[in-house]
């Protein structure tokens, strides 16, 4: 079984979440790859924690430097409102991202103090929709369900991957979106709900679910084992483990 992890990060956090936990608070790209080798994960889509903790542009540069020449790592850059000029020309910013091996974006509206709405991001999200760039949103990092619903109301065709929605099953939040928005995907790093994978696939098919680990905050093996032995077909498992993300990133127009 081939795994492509859509939710992991590199870098040292400003405030380690649990300094007494005994684990390293963050990992380098090399350490991530070593951990992936131990677990049996082929590829990953990391972001850099400095994109959230320091500032998006510094984090983007650190991410680009870390994944350079690492064929197994595909990058994620973090957005800012284009109106302040920090991104520069939006088209050129996406070209630089693509050249750095980046194929998806994240947004941290709470940490970077902006609004996730059309008045701010119309140009960016229309460009992402047209070019099929996925936007990853972490419910654990300052994005609310109301914001997600409002955003997808304004950009219904935008590809959005919902990450870190918590270990308490969030189906009542995300299932209405799956039914109404064709390009919404659910990352399963925290989707530990018993029978959740089987129930989800029975209702929506395997195409809307993506494997993620939330490494290094979480172990790789928890969701790997749950997915490997879920009561769904081998083809469905492979789609969730890697195939869906490969397809999404393959559709990105550079």
């Amino acid at each position: 079984m081939r795994f492509f992890d859509c939710n992991c990060c590199i870098g040292l956090p400003a405030n380690p979440p649990s300094p007494a936990a005994g684990a390293s608070p963050g990992v380098s790209a090399g350490e991530l790859l070593a951990a992936m080798d131990r677990a049996g994960i082929d590829r990953a889509l990391p972001w850099h924690v400095a994109q959230h903790d320091q500032d998006p542009l510094t984090g983007n540069d650190l991410l680009a430097e870390a994944i350079a020449a690492q064929e197994r790592l595909v990058g994620v850059w973090s957005l800012l409102p284009p109106q302040t000029g920090e991104l520069g020309d939006v088209g050129e910013w996406f070209q630089r991202a693509a050249s750095a091996g980046v194929r998806a974006c994240r947004a941290f509206p709470e940490a970077s103090r902006y609004l996730l709405r059309a008045e701010v991001f119309e140009e960016v999200f229309e460009a992402m929709t047209a070019a099929r760039w996925p936007l990853l949103l972490s419910l654990a990092r300052g994005v609310t369900w109301d914001q997600v619903y409002d955003l997808l109301g304004e950009f219904p065709e935008l590809t959005v991957i919902l990450c870190d929605h918590g270990s308490w099953g969030a189906d009542r939040y995300f299932r209405p979106l799956l039914q109404r928005r064709p390009n919404v995907y659910v990352e399963i790093g925290g989707y530990t709900l018993d029978g959740g994978i089987e129930d989800f696939v029975a209702r929506y098919g395997p195409g809307r679910m993506l494997f993620g680990s939330n490494f290094p905050a979480c172990y790789h093996g928890g969701m790997m084992l749950a997915l490997a032995h879920a009561e769904i077909s081998d083809a469905d498992k492979q789609a969730i483990a890697a195939g869906n993300l490969e397809r999404l990133l393959g559709e990105v127009k550079l």
Binding site: S18, T192, L193, H229
Partner: protein
């Protein structure tokens, strides 16, 4: 694959291991207000247990904890339906002292069902040292019963200060710290080291990378208990986390079944 462990290889290949049965010491059952559960019935939970190699689950039904009209009857019904796979903790809701008294009075008539007590102080918003819990503590202490208590860092109801105080006050209680004082990992390790009657239960602990290695490094391998809050969390997720942690397979055997076998054996339950 998950890790270099031989045990990981067995679980990876088969989803279970004949050499390593799993005993889940922290479960629930039935619907609950906050979460959609695809597999909340006793039958569905047994299906999951078979799927994951879980030999026995010790649980407390949601209705016993949150619906006084139903109470512990929900536990009795489920265990008597699956006596080889289930045991229950008697729910203690301190807001209903008459029900607590009646349930404790009937405990010895239901020893085929109950192996201990369950307290959920943060949810019932009553501190462990409140007089309303006193009859339950006294009852458990006299009989050397297990008490599974939800514990969480900083909680005034069941946080580290309360746990330390009650662990010392009721030394015959086998005190199972549900969620291992989640977040207060150093305090949990210190309390489990200090008090021979305290055990650390791992539900929701396994969501975080690191605490398990910390507990094992603290010499607590024989005081750790696997749990899932089933039907909340997929046992394979928790097992996969144990297999991912940088600990030895002997520690994994302790966590996944040996420690629970010992405690249940002391309660008269052969597993």
């Amino acid at each position: 694959m998950i890790s270099e462990s031989a045990l990981a290889e067995a679980f990876w290949e088969n989803g279970r291991s004949d050499d390593c049965p799993v005993i889940d010491m922290h479960g629930h059952m039935g619907p609950w207000r906050g979460i959609y559960f695809p597999r909340a019935s006793a039958e569905a939970m047994i299906h999951t247990m078979d799927q994951c190699g879980v030999r026995m689950l010790v649980f407390c039904h949601h209705a016993a904890l949150f619906c006084p009209e139903i109470g512990n009857a929900a536990n009795v019904e489920a265990v008597r339906k699956f006596p080889d796979r289930l045991r229950a903790y008697l729910a203690i809701n301190p807001h209903y002292p008459d029900s607590v008294a009646a349930d404790l009075a009937g405990f010895d008539d239901n020893r085929d069902v109950f192996v201990g007590l369950k307290i959920l102080a943060s949810y019932h918003q009553v501190c462990w040292d409140d007089p309303r819990y006193e009859p339950a503590w006294k009852f458990a202490d006299e009989r050397g019963l297990m008490v599974l208590g939800h514990t969480w860092s900083g909680s005034r109801y069941d946080g580290q200060e309360m746990v330390r105080r009650m662990a010392g006050r009721w030394p015959n209680v086998r005190l199972l710290l549900g969620h291992s004082l989640h977040g207060a990992w150093d305090a949990a390790a210190a309390i489990a080291q200090e008090f021979p009657n305290v055990y650390l239960e791992l539900t929701a602990v396994l969501d975080d990378r690191g605490p398990l290695e910390k507990f094992v490094a603290a010499g607590l391998s024989e005081k750790l208990l696997f749990g899932t809050d089933l039907p909340w969390f997929d046992p394979h997720h928790g097992i996969g986390a144990v297999l991912s942690a940088e600990i030895a397979d002997e520690d994994r055997h302790n966590i996944l079944h040996r420690n629970a076998e010992r405690l249940l054996g002391e309660a008269g339950v052969g597993v």
